[in-house]
C-alpha cells in the first residue's frame, strides 16, 4: 500500500517539475541577482565575478540630486491615487445600487470597465492626442468655452493631477465590481426592517448600506497601503517627459533611466532593492493590520 501511494505521489512530483524549474530559473535566480546592488556590475563578468563595492551604490543613490524629490513625487502621486481609487468606486457603486433597471446598470458597467482592459500604451496614445496643447480635443473645447488652454502633460502644476485622474478613468470601473459584490451580500431583510421603521433612501444608504460594506472598505484601504511606493510605472513612463520630471518622476522611472539609459546597473539595483525592502515592510504591516481589523488572511 505504502509503495503504491509513493508511486502515485511520484506522479504528482513529476507534474510539478516544469513549474518548479521555471520558478527557479526566472524567480529564484533573479533573487540571488540582488547581489548586483553591492557590486560595480559588469554584465559580461556575471553576478559573482564583478567587483564588490559594499554600500557604495546606496551612498551614491542617496547623494543623487533628485532622489528626495523623486521619493516625494512617488508617495504624493501614489497616495492621491489610493484615496481617489477608494472613494470614486464606492460612490459609483452606491449610485449604481440605487438604479432600478438592471439593464441600465449592466450597460453602465460595460462602459466603465472597458478602459481597465486597454494597455497604458493605448490609453497613453489616446491621452497624448486628446490632451495636446495645440490640437488636442480637450484644449479645443476649453478654448471654445473661453477657458485658457492647459498643458496637462507638460505643466508641473497639472501633471500629477492628470496622472491621478487618468488612472481613475482606467481603474474605477473595475474597482466597483468588488463593492457591487459586497452590496449584494447585504441581507435584504435589514432594508425591509429599515423601511418599516420609516428610513428613507438616504438613511438606508448611511445606516444600512455603508455599514454593510465598511469591512470591505477597511480591508481594501489597509491593503492598498502596500502600494504607497507604486505610483504606476507604465502610466508615468508613457505620459511623462523631461519637462515634468520635477513633479512626475517616480522611483520606478528613475530606476529605469539609471539602469537602461545610463547603464549603472549596480545603482539601479540598489534603488530597486531599497524600494522593495520598504514595500515589503509596508505590505507586511498592511496584511497584519488587515488580519487584526478585518480578519483577512491571504492563505
Amino acid at each position: 500500500m505504502n509503495s503504491k501511494r509513493w508511486s502515485k505521489n511520484l506522479q504528482l512530483h513529476i507534474m510539478l517539475i516544469p513549474a518548479t524549474l521555471f520558478a527557479i530559473l526566472f524567480s529564484y535566480v533573479p533573487i540571488t541577482g540582488i547581489v548586483i546592488a553591492f557590486q560595480r556590475f559588469i554584465p559580461n563578468r556575471g553576478f559573482f565575478k564583478s567587483t564588490w563595492v559594499g554600500l557604495d551604490n546606496f551612498i551614491y543613490m542617496l547623494n543623487m540630486p533628485d532622489i528626495y524629490q523623486v521619493l516625494y513625487n512617488t508617495v504624493f502621486i501614489a497616495l492621491m491615487k489610493i484615496i481617489a481609487g477608494l472613494i470614486v468606486p464606492i460612490v459609483v457603486a452606491l449610485l449604481l445600487n440605487e438604479m432600478k433597471k438592471k439593464v441600465l446598470v449592466r450597460s453602465v458597467q460595460t462602459m466603465i470597465y472597458l478602459p481597465h482592459f486597454l494597455s497604458w500604451v493605448i490609453l497613453g496614445g489616446i491621452l497624448i492626442d486628446i490632451l495636446s496643447v495645440e490640437n488636442g480635443i480637450i484644449n479645443k473645447v476649453m478654448q471654445g468655452v473661453g477657458l485658457p488652454s492647459v498643458f496637462f502633460l507638460g505643466d508641473n502644476s497639472w501633471f500629477p493631477f492628470t496622472l491621478v485622474i487618468t488612472d481613475v478613468w482606467k481603474e474605477f470601473g473595475f474597482a466597483t465590481i468588488i463593492y457591487m459584490a459586497a452590496l449584494t451580500s447585504i441581507d435584504p431583510t435589514i432594508y425591509e426592517a429599515a423601511i418599516i421603521d420609516g428610513a428613507n433612501r438616504w438613511k438606508q444608504t448611511f445606516h444600512v448600506t455603508l455599514p454593510g460594506i465598511t469591512p470591505i472598505i477597511i480591508l481594501l484601504g489597509v491593503l492598498s497601503m502596500g502600494n504607497v511606493l507604486n505610483a504606476g510605472f507604465e502610466q508615468v513612463f508613457m505620459l511623462y517627459s523631461p519637462s515634468v520630471y520635477e513633479s512626475g518622476d517616480i522611483i520606478d522611472t528613475l530606476l529605469y533611466r539609471v539602469g537602461f539609459v545610463d547603464a549603472q546597473f549596480g545603482v539601479a539595483t540598489a534603488v530597486g532593492l531599497f524600494k522593495s525592502v520598504i514595500a515589503a515592510l509596508l505590505i507586511g504591516t498592511s496584511y497584519w493590520l488587515a488580519y487584526r481589523l478585518a480578519g483577512y488572511r491571504i492563505f
Partner: protein, 291 residues
C-alpha cells in the same frame, strides 16, 4: 405619501441619467480617437472632428496595412499570445492539480505551496531579472517575452480552488479502476474545468496582448517588437515621422496614422471584451475577497 413616492422615482431617474452620462464620458476619448482615425487628414488637422468622422476616409488604415513594421510587430504579438497562452495554461494545469490534493495525502504540498507563493512575494527586481534573461541568451528571441512570466501563481490559485470543488468520489472511483494521476487530470478534472480554464486563458491572452515593457527592454531590434511595444515607440516619439513618401502625404497625416494604429491594436480586446466581462466578475471577487 404619493409625492414622496414620486420624488423617489425622480431621484432614481436622475441617478440613472447621471450614471449613463458617466459611462458615456468614459468612452468619449476612445470614440473621439476612432472618429479621428476615420477622418481625412485635412479635416482631422483642422480640429473639427469631435465624435463623428468628417470626410470619411480609410486611407490611414490602408496605409498601416502596407506598413511592413506594423504588420511584422502584429505577427510577433500573435506568436507571443499563442506561445504564452499554451505554455501558461499547461503549466497552470500541471501545477494546480497536485497542489489541489490534501496535505495529508500529498505530504510535500506545503513545501511546494510556499515555494510558489514566495515567488509572488519576493522578486529580484528589474535589473537582476533582465541580467538573468540576458545570461540565458534569450534577448531578441520570442522566448524572452513568454518564459519569464510563464508561471502565474494567481491563476494557479484560481485553478487549484476549482479542482478542490470537484467531488472527491470521481477521483476515488477512478483510482479503484486503476487510473493514475495523469489520467485523472486529463480525462476527468480537465474536461470538468474547461470553463475555468477558458477564463484563465482569456486573461492570459489579454495580458500578453497588452504587455509592452518587456518587449522594450528584451528586444534590441525594432523588428522584434510586439505590437504594443512598437506602438509605444511611435506614440511617445513626436518627431518620428514614418511617412517618407511625399506623394502619400496628401492623403494621410502622422496623427491619423497613429490613431489608426491605436485602434487596430485595441480591436482584439474589443472583440473578446463581451467574454471577458462575462467571466471576470467571478474571478476578481474570488481572488480579492475570498472569505
Amino acid at each position: 405619501m404619493g409625492s414622496k413616492k414620486s420624488s423617489q422615482q425622480l431621484a432614481t431617474i436622475v441617478i440613472s441619467i447621471a450614471m449613463l452620462v458617466l459611462g458615456i464620458v468614459c468612452l468619449l476619448p476612445v470614440i473621439h480617437i476612432i472618429a479621428f482615425s476615420l477622418s481625412s487628414p485635412a479635416a482631422a488637422n483642422s480640429g473639427k472632428v469631435l465624435l463623428w468622422p468628417i470626410e470619411f476616409s480609410l486611407d490611414a488604415y490602408t496605409y498601416i496595412m502596407d506598413e511592413p513594421k506594423f504588420g511584422k510587430s502584429f505577427l510577433v504579438s500573435l506568436e507571443r499570445v499563442g506561445l504564452g497562452l499554451s505554455i501558461s495554461c499547461l503549466l497552470t494545469l500541471l501545477t494546480a492539480y497536485p497542489l489541489s490534493k490534501e496535505s495529508a495525502r500529498f505530504r510535500s504540498r506545503t513545501f511546494y505551496v510556499w515555494f510558489f507563493v514566495t515567488t509572488m512575494l519576493f522578486s529580484g527586481g528589474l535589473i537582476p531579472t533582465y541580467m538573468v534573461v540576458r545570461a540565458y541568451g534569450l534577448l531578441d528571441t520570442i522566448w524572452a517575452l513568454v518564459l519569464p512570466g510563464a508561471v502565474q501563481v494567481f491563476n494557479i490559485t484560481l485553478m487549484l480552488n476549482f479542482f478542490r470543488g470537484l467531488p472527491k468520489e470521481l477521483d476515488e472511483s477512478a483510482f479503484v479502476d486503476g487510473a493514475g494521476h495523469w489520467t485523472i487530470l486529463f480525462r476527468i478534472s480537465l474536461p470538468l474545468s474547461l470553463p475555468s480554464l477558458a477564463t484563465i486563458a482569456l486573461f492570459t491572452m489579454v495580458g500578453h496582448w497588452n504587455a509592452w515593457f518587456d518587449g522594450l527592454i528584451y528586444m534590441n531590434r525594432p523588428e522584434h517588437y510586439p505590437l504594443q511595444t512598437y506602438l509605444q515607440t511611435i506614440v511617445t516619439n513626436p518627431d518620428m515621422s514614418r511617412i517618407t513618401n511625399f506623394a502619400e502625404l496628401k492623403n494621410i497625416s502622422t496623427r491619423t496614422v497613429k490613431t489608426a494604429q491605436i485602434i487596430v491594436a485595441m480591436l482584439p480586446i474589443i472583440v473578446v471584451y463581451p467574454f471577458l466581462q462575462r467571466f471576470f466578475v467571478k474571478g476578481i471577487v474570488l481572488g480579492s475577497v475570498k472569505g
